[in-house]
Amino acid sequence: MCVKILKLGTLRKLEDGRASVEEERGRVKVAQRCMTKANYLTTLSFTRWVKDWANATPLFEQAALNFKLVKMLEEAKLAYQQAAMGQIKQSSPWMAAKHMEAAGVLAKELSCWNEVVDFFKQASALYVECGKVQPGADALIRGARAVQELKPNDALTMYMDACRLLEDDNREQMAFDTYRAASNLYIKLNKYHEAAVVLLRWGQAANKCKATQSQCKAYLSAIIVYLYAESYEDALACYNNCASMDVFSKSDQDQCAQLLFSAYREGRANEIKHVISTSTIIPHLDHMIIRLAKQLPQGKVMSQEVPIMDIT
């Protein structure tokens, strides 16, 4: 467990420095008093056979707030955890989830990454428990965003869980940003096939909610990612699958893909670069995809003899 205790008096600088230090000391005393009392109320003894969460929870909340204001983050995190427990015991999962999120934010500031993941996952579960799927997914997304630099695999898991939650609740449209974030993270980790799978899943979700623009863009992005990963066959198979859909086959993105494939079939790198640089469709894709497209072609380009399936 990481512990950081900041010295008092090094925080806010007001004109009257002495008053701020005393104010902070007062807060610390109040917080410690609340914490002590709340711990007392929740400790079983000979005279107390049942934990008094009803009275202890507000004390924990007050203590957490005061600790947070004086930047005693470790103590604030513990207080928030206890407050969340108290709210759970009082059958109030919404408030418990809020406290868990607050604890997660503090854990992030303390660089306790495992705890960040746990807290946000618990918060999400609590939101789902009280029937609020969107806030649950948002909690997972916030947690993933917090840890994606240092724990990318956990972040990806959380992103995909958020997508699954929204898909199960028929709210695919709210998941578009999550798909984009997940695919960008996969690309950053050089996991191009997984990124392409996420993009195709995005296209499927867009198809379900009739978002044709996003659907076509997602399919074209997946094709570009496959080509960047030097998987011409996978890209072609992906294109053939996508072209069987009327929505994509009649779109500008399909024409762009056809030009790209014809340039690849001829095996001319200059032609490929020319198609990408003069295309008016590729600049409207996500910035990570544009970056990959500008680096095409990757690897050795030979003239391809694999024919495109005739979709007529």
Binding site: Q173, Q213, D252, T280, I281
Partner: protein, 307 residues
């Protein structure tokens, strides 16, 4: 004044007063189906010349250059077609027609010449200063660039298909202008693609926001209804609390309590009660201040009445 000028002047005058010439109108109806094919063709060619002249005047007054070019091209085409009719007229003029005088027969070739001159005189935006030229002229200057005015002799010359400086310059200018137009069209296409993409994204975003707004709308309506009910109930409660009936009841109760208190106090000073013994020192204390029991009870009763 030459014969041609006289004929032209006569034509103009006849045309002006055509509506008064009953014979001509009747004869026109007859001769159209009659034997004089020359006259028929001549009339048609004259009408076409008039139409071409009107078109040429429209082209001169038009400001739009594209429309001017189109009209000029049509005028040139009409002129070429009319020039092709002249040999037919010459053949028909040589035919003998019944009931036609010798002078009229002799005047027909002059009419044809005048007609050819009229065709040449129609401005078509290309040919300038061709007055005095006659039909049957020799091949024109081989180096002059002409549009829609091909002479058969020109086509047979070998130099006809060679490039000249003027034609090269024209071609280069044409290519340059075409490239500029293509460039402009490419820029417009790119801008339109961007607009289309933005419009598509906006459309999707609106579709996403619509159910959320509907949900917010429902919840706000529900909250407003709850608030309204709560306000009504609060108002009723306040009205009940502040009613006059309650105020009177409160007053009566206070008076009763004071009365009971006073009675108890009075009763406590009676010698037949145990409390009298306890209160004796108090009574003696009261007496020291010359306050009698009667005066005290009167005082208390007055206090009750005043309340």
């Amino acid at each position: 004044m030459s014969v041609i000028d006289i004929l032209t002047r006569v034509d103009v005058l006849c045309k002006k007063y055509e509506k008064y010439d009953l014979d001509k109108q009747w004869a026109g109806a007859d001769s159209m189906s009659g034997n004089d094919q020359f006259l028929r063709l001549y009339t048609v060619v004259e009408a076409d010349i008039e139409a071409a002249r009107e078109k040429s005047q429209d082209a001169q007054s038009e400001k739009n250059r594209a429309v001017v070019a189109t009209l000029n091209a049509e005028v040139r085409r009409s002129k070429a077609a009319l020039k092709a009719e002249i040999p037919k007229l010459e053949k028909l003029a040589a035919k003998k027609v019944k009931d036609l005088s010798k002078e009229e027969m002799a005047a027909r070739p002059d009419l044809i010449v005048a007609l050819a001159q009229k065709i040449e005189d129609i401005p078509d935006g290309v040919t300038v200063g061709r007055r005095g030229g006659t039909w049957g002229r020799k091949a024109s200057n081989p180096l002059e660039i002409k549009l829609d005015a091909m002479h058969p002799d020109d086509l047979m010359r070998p130099e006809h298909y060679e490039q000249t400086e003027e034609s090269l310059a024209l071609r280069q200018e044409y290519e340059m202008r075409r490239a500029k137009q293509d460039e402009g069209l490419d820029i417009i296409a790119a801008g339109l693609t961007t607009l289309k993409d933005m419009a598509g994204d906006i459309n999707e975003e609106l579709d996403k926001q619509m159910p959320l707004i509907d949900e917010v709308d429902t919840k706000v309506d529900r909250a407003a209804a709850d608030l309204k009910n709560t306000n009504i109930r609060l108002k009723e409660t306040l009205t009940k609390m502040r009613s006059n009936r309650n105020f009177c009841i409160d007053l009566i109760l206070i008076v009763l309590i004071l009365g009971i208190g006073g009675t108890l106090y009075t009763y406590s000073f009676s010698p037949f009660t145990p409390s009298y013994v306890c209160l004796q020192p108090l009574l003696m204390y009261q007496q020291s201040f010359a306050v009698t029991r009667e005066q005290l009870s009167v005082f208390i009763l007055n206090a009750i009445v005043s309340c």
